[in-house]
């Protein structure tokens, strides 16, 4: 059966081949988007998130002043045409710092969620599928993580590492977040594992590793996507909280939580210093939560069709 290996691609452009192969997935995606559009809250969340992301991406074009440079003579000014949100105790323009802060908060959020999800998913799906002793041990380990509130644990890890920098905080938040995803996907894995097509794959002679990553993973991952989206909001809040108490972003960094900490002493006299960063935190977290909610409803197999 020596056929021309290029037969597939010579039948048409690679684009057409790709769309053919993924035709039904495209149709599925269109249906998902249609369902998504129908939920006003989900669309609202999506727009909020989109707004924050775009703002962060185009930050260099949107800022009016350098977010890092000190400008002591202009400190403590209320909002005006020159400084849209006023200036802080160092004379830095709050508007520019809020806009630039998006880059920091969003990237911290995305990095942490991405890495902890990846680690959590791999560990969870493997232990869930293998079962037995491996699973028991894993469950007990994650139990330990869950016994301690995440904020405290993150602080403890940072303290143990002896540094308060943003990088250290990010690392400790990673440690704290991955067990959640692992347990979540493990639960789903237990169900997917019993599906007939898994048995079918075994009967074809597939190894466990193959089955886990080819068959189980994609079918078990849906709730993780929902949780990850909502976690983007929580991680941002956590970052801001840690910065607020002095861990994480160092003074001067235009990170929203840090900005609130810096402006805390001037709450009465110059409330704009904490109000605007606070609003940005609120909008971002709200956006991700609504988005996550909407995503969960849309991905729920029972509500489809």
């Amino acid at each position: 059966m020596k056929m021309d290996k290029k037969k597939e691609s010579t039948n048409g452009s690679w684009y057409r081949n790709w769309t053919n192969e993924h035709q039904a997935q495209i149709k599925d995606l269109k249906y998902t988007i249609h369902l998504f559009r129908q939920s006003k809250l989900a669309m609202g969340g999506f727009l909020l998130v989109l707004g924050v992301v775009l703002m962060s991406v185009f930050a260099p074009f949107l800022i009016t002043h350098d977010p890092y440079s000190l400008n002591l003579p202009e400190r403590g000014l209320p909002p005006s045409r020159e400084h849209l949100f006023g200036t802080d105790s160092n004379g830095m323009d709050i508007y520019s710092r809020c806009v630039w802060g998006g880059r920091i908060d969003l990237s911290v959020g995305f990095i942490i969620v991405f890495i902890s999800t990846a680690v959590g998913v791999v560990v969870g799906v493997t232990t869930g599928y293998m079962g037995g002793i491996i699973d028991e041990v894993f469950m007990r380990i994650t139990d330990m993580f869950f016994a301690i509130p995440s904020l405290i644990l993150a602080m403890a890890v940072s303290a143990a590492l002896g540094s308060r920098s943003l990088q250290t905080i990010m690392f400790s938040m990673l440690i704290v977040s991955w067990p959640g995803y692992a347990r979540l996907i493990r639960g789903n894995t237990l169900a997917v594992r019993e599906e007939p097509y898994i048995e079918a794959a075994k009967s074809l002679g597939a190894s466990s590793l193959y089955i886990i990553f080819k068959h189980v993973l994609l079918n078990a991952v849906a709730p993780v996507l929902v949780m990850a989206t909502m976690d983007l909001g929580s991680i941002m809040l956590l970052t801001a909280s840690l910065s607020f108490i002095g861990m994480g972003a160092q003074p001067g960094t235009p990170e929203w939580g840090r900005m609130i900490a810096d402006g805390r002493n001037f709450m009465r006299s110059s409330p704009w210093m904490i109000t605007f960063p606070g609003i940005f935190i609120m909008i971002s977290v709200l956006g991700f939560n609504l988005l996550g909610d909407g995503l969960r409803d849309v991905l729920d197999p029972r509500l489809r069709r």
Binding site: E21, A24, P196, E199, A200, A206
Partner: protein, 321 residues
């Protein structure tokens, strides 16, 4: 040397039941209790029984999809229960399975091409254009069209999905196929199509079948020899015609009389079996069928019966022969 392709010798499978605080093993479900069976090359052997009798577990154990606790399974003389995982994976190319549930047996996220081509990929037998060619070949041999290549399982009817499952199971050119209630979930007219296809493939590809079903009419239609199973044991086995003409075991007789005959002029006999199938956790002592048997004696309540050879490959597990 026998011409048995596949042989099960005294297979045993119990499932532990855990309970209590420390999840201790409290008892066992005696799903398969010392079952032996032989299947000759080119034959179709039928395995019939009601729910809970252990036929599904037995089929899976034969293929080592469930690990047997005791006993042997010989494929062309080789005891597959003693093979290493790597050897077993290679052995699987010879023995494939067609599942009952056409919906669940196919990964909903995979295209038909990937589903049917998967066994070839796993064993490194083909790739790229060659793989596609082979997949199309398999599809046409089961009555599917090339245009179905990139579709998803949910776009097909039950019968077509079963065809996909069958195409996948013959991709590796196996010599033995376990058919686990392949038509039970299908409509009558579709069932007829699939049964015809299965018989057709057997002739063309020189296959040997073990056909599991609870439907006696279907079993009779496809099988050369039939085994009747009850509560983890084989109670009777014989050639098709012989079993229906000359059933000896009371359970077989009851089963035959309970099938609703699709002919309004032939009214069913009144041999209604009383009671429900008992649980396999604590099967009755002695002959497992004795609580429901109209001919039970004291011996039946205490002693387990031996297999009686009636000649002509007809065996019965009963004291009263």
């Amino acid at each position: 040397m026998s011409n048995n392709l596949l042989e099960a010798v005294d297979l045993v499978k119990y499932f532990p039941i855990r309970g209590g605080v420390l999840s201790r093993i409290q008892d066992h479900v005696r799903a398969v209790d010392n079952v032996s069976m032989y299947i000759k090359k080119g034959e179709t052997v039928g395995l019939v029984g009601e729910s809970g009798c252990g036929k599904t577990t037995f089929g899976r154990t034969m293929l080592r999809l469930i690990e047997p606790m005791a006993g042997e399974v010989n494929f062309e003389g080789v005891d597959i229960t003693s093979l290493s995982p790597v050897e077993m994976r290679a052995m699987r190319r010879n023995m494939q399975i067609v599942f009952q549930d056409p919906v669940g047996a196919l990964n909903p996220r995979m295209t038909i091409k990937n589903i049917i081509g998967e066994p070839l990929k796993i064993h490194g037998l083909a790739k790229g254009g060659e793989l596609t060619e082979r997949v199309i070949e398999l599809m046409t041999s089961v009555g599917l069209k090339e245009e179905h290549l990139y579709r998803f399982p949910h776009e097909f009817s039950g019968g077509q999905r079963q065809r996909i499952g069958i195409a996948r199971s013959i991709a590796l050119n196996p010599s033995f196929l376990l058919l686990d209630e392949p038509t039970s979930a299908l409509d009558v007219s579709v069932q007829a199509q699939i049964l015809n296809l299965i018989q057709d493939l057997q002739k063309r590809l020189d296959l040997t079948y073990l056909f599991i079903s609870h439907n006696l009419a279907v079993i009779k239609y496809v099988s050369d020899r039939i085994y009747v199973m009850y509560l983890g044991k084989i109670v009777e086995s014989a050639e098709s015609e012989e079993l229906f003409k000359n059933p000896h075991h009371s359970y077989t007789k009851a089963l035959l009389s309970a099938i609703p005959i699709p002919d309004p002029d032939l009214k069913m006999d009144d041999v209604y079996l009383q009671g429900e199938v008992p649980s396999a956790i604590n099967p009755p002592k002695g002959c497992r069928f004795h609580p429901r048997c109209p001919n039970a004696t004291d011996k039946c309540k205490t002693e387990e019966p031996e297999l009686v050879d009636l000649g002509n490959e007809h065996y019965v597990l009963c004291h009263m022969i």
